[in-house]
Symmetry: C2
Subunit: 343 residues, 2 copies
DNA sequence: CCGCGTCTCTTTAACGATACAGACGGTCGA
DNA sequence: TCGACCGTCTGTATCGTTAAAGAGACGCGG
């Protein structure tokens, strides 16, 4: 059987198509009696209600928003930071009866950009930075919001954002460790830098801007301390554990280690304990993000308001009139037991 | 500026609209030269590529699939079982360049069913059972796949599914504990039963079918043992911990506790340890699902192939021709250290 | 020189709905 | 009694695209 349309119903009942449409969407536009007849007839004919796509085309709105990820979607569900953001984002969307489309657009995969092209959405958000997918979305005329600082602050930004001041956060971490007397610090750097050796001199390479800002801030805050940067291929607790191997068995073991994210820092702490080293006594460890598990693990870290990021991103998309569309949220250094002064 | 359409470009170039469309979608249908001109002109005029919605309407496919949840979306991201399923599901979708729309349709909220109506998707899947949202989707003519047994096995099922035999799984658990000599067993039951007192006699109430089947199986497998059912309002580790209070301080403390899910069982084990009771020595604990963390925690449980569930659900949606659309996957009792014979 | 296939491009007709501007009869105040 | 207004319903024009079939030109083999 072919699909039943409003037109079919109209023809059978001898009314106009518009009346059928109104029966479904605007009850006040026709008599209760006729409306009743239309609905009844529609049910009898097996009409399944207005077609979502047709309605979207005509009305120009989809009531759906895309969330883009730079990684595979399974990463989005496994990274605690990403999950927390997504939860906050979805709570707002849910309340407004809007739905969410998940889009995976790996930076490496140019073809994946068509996913942005083909997405029937009213806007695009991402926990990521202002990646090509965002730019593509803006070219399509869609509002975008990203949540990780990508360009240098002050430089001209194209889309809306909700970020923190990663440089200042890094600076606070560096300064804090310097005050504790740390002179030899290792820095576990994020997802770029595949397979490179440790560096004594910082060069940015392909690093994400937010990581770059954190690192620059840390270096500045540390002043003249001796810093070695360990490039990790990926941002995960596995990478953090692997870093244990690269760092803990060295003769010139650092007195403090900073990871650009908590997942890495927590993995690194695992590695420490496996070797009988207690973070906060034998070595200091600092992270960024402040995940729920970081509190339990006693990790000193930069708290970042991830739920606010998610919530505000959703609100910006839902309300295009809202002023203040470029938001820098406050962060905070949370000192816990994983750091200690140098003896 | 108003939106630029293929029609506008066609008019300017003096070609037909179809030619413009073909320039974007079917390069072999026009000369390379003309195609070049069209694309160039389009770019110059600020054309953003074919409109996703219009294309969907015309072609009748959206290349998007909905995932429905009975709970708030934030639950979907926080429950490990749900996350694992989603990851597997999304991997398949991603590979086929299809996208995923998340829909929250709480059973309580009747209005939320319109979300199904308004979703522009080619099919609907869910980790949940065959809830009203699924039925609604089928009324719309959409294929559906659910992954938690809802109707009794053998009864007529309307939609496709990928499930396990929850009754048999429960039976194995019961039988196993009986062999270990357990005579007094408490059963932590799932998300229905809000605020009810423990029961000596099992009555099903509003329980999900899969939980019902598990419990029936357990009871059968346990034979004549004394069983008390503790209704938990929700399925979470918090609920499991709360159960500790309800169970561990009683005079007639059971020798074994079965939870209908691992999250609850793990929470309960926490509560045990907080009271100085070691699971597998002082009390036996069994769960269902076999989460990654269950292995680490030493929890005896029923392994259920959650990734296969997700993967197959996606494959069924993507390939409507595939035979065998009602799948019962194997499960397995995994014995770990949380269970022991009665002294 | 004719017929036929090929390459390009055009024409026509949807896809299924809603916005917008009437039309028509009846009521009501002046 | 007249015009304004209201409640109902209709007709038409899109929304932006693509499917399907057709039309003209050109080359090529017979």
């Amino acid at each position: 059987m072919a699909k039943v349309t409003q037109q079919d119903i109209a023809k059978v009942l001898g009314v106009s198509v518009m009346t059928v449409s109104n029966a479904f969407n605007r009850p006040d536009q026709l008599s209760a009696d006729l409306r009743e007849r239309v609905l009844e007839r529609a049910a009898k004919m097996g009409y399944t209600g207005p077609d979502a796509v047709a309605r979207q085309l005509r009305s120009g709105r989809t009531n759906t928003f895309a969330v883009v990820f730079e990684e595979r979607l399974s990463y989005a569900f496994s990274d605690p930071f990403s999950v927390a953001w997504l939860a906050a984002f979805s709570e707002v969307m849910e309340r407004k009866r809007a739905s969410i489309t998940l889009l995976s657009v790996p930076a490496a995969d140019v073809d994946a950009l068509v996913a942005i092209q083909d997405a029937a959405v009213d806007g695009v958000a991402g926990l990521c930075g202002d990646q090509p997918a965002m730019a593509r979305a803006r070219e399509r005329g869609l509002p975008t919001v990203y949540c990780t600082r990508t360009s240098e602050p002050g430089s001209e930004q194209a889309g809306d954002y909700v970020v923190i001041d990663d440089y200042a956060a890094g600076f606070e971490v560096g300064q804090y460790l310097r005050r504790l007397g740390h002179q030899r610090v290792f820095l576990l750097a994020g997802a770029a830098y595949a397979g490179q050796p440790p560096m004594k001199e910082y060069h940015r390479g392909d690093l994400d801007t937010s990581d770059h800002l954190r690192i620059s801030g840390v270096l500045e805050g540390l002043g003249g301390a001796e810093v070695t940067i360990i490039p990790m291929g990926t941002n995960s607790s596995t990478a953090g554990r692997a870093a244990g191997v690269a760092v803990l068995d060295r003769r010139d073991r650092p007195t403090a280690v900073i990871a650009v994210s908590d997942v890495m820092a927590l993995g690194f702490m695992d590695a420490c304990r496996q070797r009988g080293l207690e973070p906060g006594r034998d070595i200091s460890v600092v992270g960024f993000d402040d995940l729920p598990e970081s509190a339990a693990g006693g990790l000193t870290t930069i708290h970042q308001p991830v739920r606010d990021k998610g919530r505000l991103a959703a609100e910006l998309l839902l309300d295009p009139q809202r002023p203040d569309r470029r938001i820098v949220l406050p962060h905070e250094l949370i000192v816990r037991s994983s750091t200690h002064p140098v003896a």
